[in-house]
């Protein structure tokens, strides 16, 4: 499918990638405040192509209290919703867990392959484990409707490579 391998583009919408509502467009009110996150694919609204040709395109979408966001996160959020690459930057596993941080009492993203933890309130900063850098953020917008992608990924998606 042309475009299905391309990284998310500005004006893409997001659709649920799993569960009963798989394929449906996500609106901010579909998400439960405080998590857990949902997994989503970007979808080109003009061609209706869901960009699931590469696992590097999938994102985690979570709704949190904007008061807890750092400045960068706030600038990328829409209605308290933030999106990040689902691919752990350590060795490329998908991030599957939403659990209490090893060193705190707030729920955070955790990659169970090698225990890296990222705080989505602080630009997905690494707060535990071997991951070398933050998760790439996908800036969002929402104007009385579905979530849309406001800009391409901030940072390189995928695992680190040998130097």
């Amino acid at each position: 499918m042309p475009g299905s391998n391309e990284r998310p583009q500005k004006a893409d919408v997001l659709v649920f990638s799993e569960g009963e509502r798989a394929g449906e467009v996500i609106k901010p009110e579909d998400l439960k405040a405080g998590g857990p996150p949902v997994r989503a694919w970007p979808k080109d609204p003009r061609t209706s192509v869901v960009r699931k040709g590469s696992r590097l395109n999938e994102v985690l979408v979570v709704k949190l209290d904007p008061a807890e966001f750092d400045e960068e996160t706030r600038s990328r959020a829409a209605g308290g919703v933030v999106a990040y690459s689902v691919i752990c930057v350590h060795t490329g596993c998908p991030i599957t867990a939403w659990v209490k941080a090893a060193g705190g009492d707030k729920d955070v993203f955790k990659c169970v392959c090698h225990n890296s933890e990222y705080d989505p309130r602080q630009s997905a900063q690494v707060i535990f484990g071997p991951a070398p850098r933050r998760l790439p953020a996908l800036p969002l917008a929402a104007e009385d409707g579905p979530l849309t992608v406001a800009a391409t990924f901030v940072g390189k998606v995928g695992a680190q490579q040998a130097r």
């Binding site: 590469s54 696992r55 590097l56 691919i87 060795t91 490329g92 596993c93 998908p94 599957t96 867990a97 659990v99 090893a102 955790k110 169970v112 392959c113 090698h114 225990n115 484990g129 071997p130 070398p132 998606v157 995928g158 695992a159 490579q161 040998a162 130097r163």
Partner: protein, 574 residues
């Protein structure tokens, strides 16, 4: 020539010389033949465990119990990558080949540490690695063979590192990958696939060493209509696991490869009812055809993630007044196995728990089948606890056998228990498929535990423990190597130490703190009359996972082990 120009010219000239001296190609490379692989020279380490029998024993004795206290580093080499470094440096007449995570092979002068060449695989950016590691390169004639995490086997020119052929094995996007050192037999490159947590069907496959052409492929799980398929229900066998991610051993006299297989998938036993042949087994294969001659299954219907991929050692064992052609395997399932290899069967001889276990009530004396306690067998919909943990009594790191002492040295983990709640999960290609929530997997110290890691010395003929060395504040997660100098070398602890023990008494004779933790296999080799000991230090993967799981649960348990690989080479200070 004015002084300044002369200085500059001199500097350039010396730079060129350094470049020539430090970079390949390798001159005078010794071709690796069938005879040399069958009877490797004492100073070389050309197989995963040095010899086809998998004993992990070096006949070198220049470094021994009397002088090991004077062992000092002679050179080191930084690999430039993080994660678990698990490969033994491979030695062929003064040339060292080091494999690292991220698909690197580095060729070094084994005496000086100078680099000849480096191969860096460009891994695909969407690769998903659960065990991002590599366990070494195989050698044949003038080539070096690497199995990669993006599921290719690559042949490199030994002198230059240039790619000769590159064969795709299966599709990494479906969770297939390779981490093992290829087994080389008579011009065949034999590997087995990883991916037991990703819904694969395991296999062992052989390639022509010259061309990369596939010669045979044997699945570790029989297909429909094949013998053993009736130990599975419905289509469970198609995604039943049985991955084969460690190098096999080989008996050249009978032309039989002994290859270990992984757990049945997903983890809870009631998701794949039946004995599940040939998971958690040792397979006897014909290297020419891949045909299975016989097998022994260490336990039926695996439910604990207990891979038995570490191939059994081939030992001529003096027991009860006769010599047994034995297979010795300290299992992940906590049982120390002594088996007898025969042309058409593998017979159970003896078995005993080498660490605490609550899973087994005993072993059936004729069949060698362990008798399970259902209270400690994970199933769907219920939290089940069991000892040892899913990492078992001994995971993939290899034990060693000393031909001098007749003892088997086991990197064991005692007092670890674990548990999880089984759940039915649909398989999505290329995604983790455990049959439980990954975050639900528990690792718990047993109440009253005085230690965790335990280096054990066992007499395989009597089943008696000769000695053990306990680690109160660390797991032991590293391969063991024995030498004729009556030394046992092992890393594996979270204090970054590399240690030498007295093979007869267990006395700690020497230790050296390194850059990171050591999971890799130590080796012994000799160049120009000097014996060296080498090992890669580089912590990661499961050693790190155990550590993260225990941080905060055990007082004083070190949780800060820096990552980053370094090759260490030691010799006795003269």
């Amino acid at each position: 020539m004015v002084l300044k120009q002369w200085l500059l010219a001199g500097l350039l000239a010396s730079t060129c010389l350094v470049t020539i001296a430090a970079a390949g190609p390798i001159e005078n490379y010794s071709p690796v033949t069938a005879d040399r692989l069958k009877n490797p020279e004492p100073g070389n380490w050309m197989h995963y465990r040095r010899t086809y029998d998998g004993q992990g024993y070096s006949p070198l004795d220049q470094i021994n119990t009397s002088n090991v206290k004077n062992l000092v580093p002679v050179w080191t080499f930084s690999t430039g990558v993080v994660e678990g470094h698990e490969a033994p440096p491979i030695i062929n007449n003064g040339v060292m080949f080091v494999a690292t995570p991220a698909g690197q092979v580095i060729a070094l002068n084994a005496k000086t540490g100078d680099e000849y060449w480096r191969y860096k695989r460009q891994l695909p950016e969407d690769l998903f690695q659960l065990h991002p590691t590599n366990r070494g390169v195989g050698l044949w004639q003038d080539k070096v063979y690497l199995a990669t995490t993006d599921d290719h086997v690559v042949a490199l020119e030994a002198k230059t590192g240039k790619v000769v052929w590159d064969t795709k094995v299966q599709d990494y996007k479906k969770g297939q990958y390779l981490t093992l050192m290829p087994l080389i037999i008579d011009g065949k490159v034999i590997v087995g696939g990883s991916g037991g947590e990703l819904g694969v069907r395991g296999y062992v496959v052989a390639y022509d060493a010259d061309t990369g052409k596939e010669l045979w492929r044997t699945f570790t799980i029989p297909g429909a209509g094949e013998p053993g398929n009736d130990t599975w229900k419905g289509d469970d066998w198609k995604t039943g696991g049985g991955s084969a991610w460690m190098t096999g051993n080989y008996d050249p006299d009978t032309k039989t490869v002994y290859w270990g297989t992984g757990n049945a998938a997903p983890w809870p036993g009631d998701t794949h009812p039946g004995d599940n042949l040939y998971t958690s087994s040792v397979l006897a294969l014909d290297p020419d055809s891949g045909k299975m001659k016989t097998y022994f299954q260490y336990h039926q219907n695996d439910s604990w993630d207990w891979d038995e991929v570490d191939a059994p050692m081939l030992v001529d064992l003096q027991k009860d007044g006769r010599i047994i052609k034995s297979l010795i395997h300290p299992g992940r399932n906590a049982i120390f196995w002594v088996l007898e290899r025969k042309p058409d069967s593998i017979k159970y001889v003896a078995g005993w728990p080498f660490v605490h276990t609550d899973v087994w009530k005993g072993i059936e004396p004729e069949s060698g089948k362990p008798i399970v306690d259902p209270a400690h067998k994970p199933i769907i919909g219920k939290r089940v606890e069991f000892c040892p943990s899913l990492w078992g009594g001994k995971d993939w790191p290899s034990a060693a056998y000393s031909q001098k002492t007749g003892l088997v040295y086991v990197p064991a983990n005692e007092n670890f228990c674990g548990g999880f709640t089984g759940e039915k999960v649909p398989l999505v290609a290329g995604q983790l498929w455990l049959g439980t929530k990954p975050e639900d997997i528990g690792l718990t110290p047993r109440p009253g535990a005085t230690h965790f890691g335990e280096l054990q010395a066992w007499d395989p003929a009597t089943g008696k423990k000769a000695w053990s060395h306990n680690f109160p504040k660390s797991q032991l997660f590293g391969s063991v190597t024995a030498t004729a100098g009556d030394l046992i070398f092992v890393g594996g602890t979270n204090d970054r130490m590399f240690r030498a023990f007295h093979a007869k008494t267990g006395e700690l004779l020497w230790e050296q703190k390194t850059n990171s933790g050591i999971m890799a296999m130590p080796i012994a080799y000799e160049v120009d009359g000097t014996q060296y000991i080498a090992v890669q230090s580089g912590w990661g993967v499961d050693a790190q996972r155990i550590q993260d799981a225990l941080a905060g649960k055990v007082d004083g348990f070190e949780n800060n082990v820096p990552q980053g690989g370094v090759v260490w080479v030691f010799a006795v200070k003269k």
